[in-house]
């Protein structure tokens, strides 16, 4: 064992003063045993740092690994839910139509007559020579019985027809519109 062997690590770490460092350096150049020791100490130092890095990486991963089962389970559950959804979900019950369900109710009551709602058809405006012709408010309203205008039976009872007439200044009819 050399006298310098106790200062090799400090020399490696550049912790020695100038003269002392130079002396150790000269010795290491000429001493194979100390060179091997320096190599060994450097390797141990590197391994120690790598060991610390690995320890920190392991602890970091371990922290993440705590979440991996939770996230994996959640993902698997989500996938299963999506895959199995068509088979596992019951069809939505369709409520019977009123027409289908109504007989059960109607049977307990007297049959009712279907009352049809009459929706009067709109009569398309008659084309007139004057395209800008419009229906003004009636200035004179004259009530005539239908029988006086149409043959008997042509118009059902209870139907009233309003005729809008537009007359020119000379008394000629310029527009006619019939509204039930």
């Amino acid at each position: 064992m050399c006298d310098f062997s106790g200062r090799l690590v400090a020399w490696m770490d550049r912790e020695l003063a100038g003269d002392e460092a130079a002396a150790v350096e000269r010795h290491v150049r000429g001493c194979a045993a100390c060179r091997r020791r320096v190599d060994t100490y450097e390797e141990v130092s590197r391994a120690f740092i790598a060991h610390c890095d690995a320890a920190m990486g392991a602890k970091t991963r371990r922290r993440l690994q705590h979440w991996v089962p939770v996230l994996s389970s959640a993902a698997a559950a989500a996938v299963l839910l999506i895959v199995l959804q068509p088979a596992s979900v019951k069809p939505i019950p369709v409520s019977p139509r009123v027409a289908d369900a109504s007989p059960a109710i109607v049977l307990q009551t007297a049959p009712m007559r279907v009352k049809r709602v009459y929706r009067p058809r709109r009569i398309a405006p008659t084309k007139t020579p004057n395209a800008d012709w419009a229906f003004p408010e009636p200035a004179i309203q004259i009530a005539l019985p239908v029988e006086a205008m149409f043959p008997p039976g042509a118009v059902p009872e209870g139907i009233t027809i309003i005729a809008d007439l537009s007359m020119g200044t000379d008394g000629s009819v310029q527009g006619l519109r019939l509204q039930p």
Binding site: R7, V9, V44, M56, G57, R63
Partner: protein, 179 residues
Amino acid sequence: MSGDSLPLPLPLSCFAADSCEATTLYRELRKPLLRYLVCLGLSADDAQDVVQDAFASLHRHLASGGPQENIRSWLFRVAHNGARNRQLSYDRRFGKPLDPDLESISGEATPEQVVLEKEKFHRLGKAILLLTDSERECLLLRAGGLRYREIGEVLGISTSTVGETVERAIKKLAEKCNV
């Protein structure tokens, strides 16, 4: 493996008004501080908390006009004390300080090399556990880039004692590992 994978524990913006030195220190020392604390036995979360507390203390220290000399050893000392306080409270966590996962350092090595590497690290891990607390702390701080003088300031021992402790610890590891 990299400490950069850990989230930033402290927003750098809080240092913006203080000095660029604090920001530089944060970038330079965050990973060594985390590694030191984790290797002391803290969990990754606790290490993050201690580092955050240490930089918050630095922020207050600089804001109050505290001295800026030896700020690296100051930071490590604050973190060291914070780790010790947590270890006293949660001592059951630290039965096995260093527990390396060698997959991260094997890289693209062959299976035989991986086995040899694992064996070597297994021996190293056992040897590290045989070190005294002071020897382990000196080596950890040395691995963090601190000078012997700074290590002495962190641990409250003289520079010459640090040199002797580091030398003794390295020789122990070399002997136990048969390197």
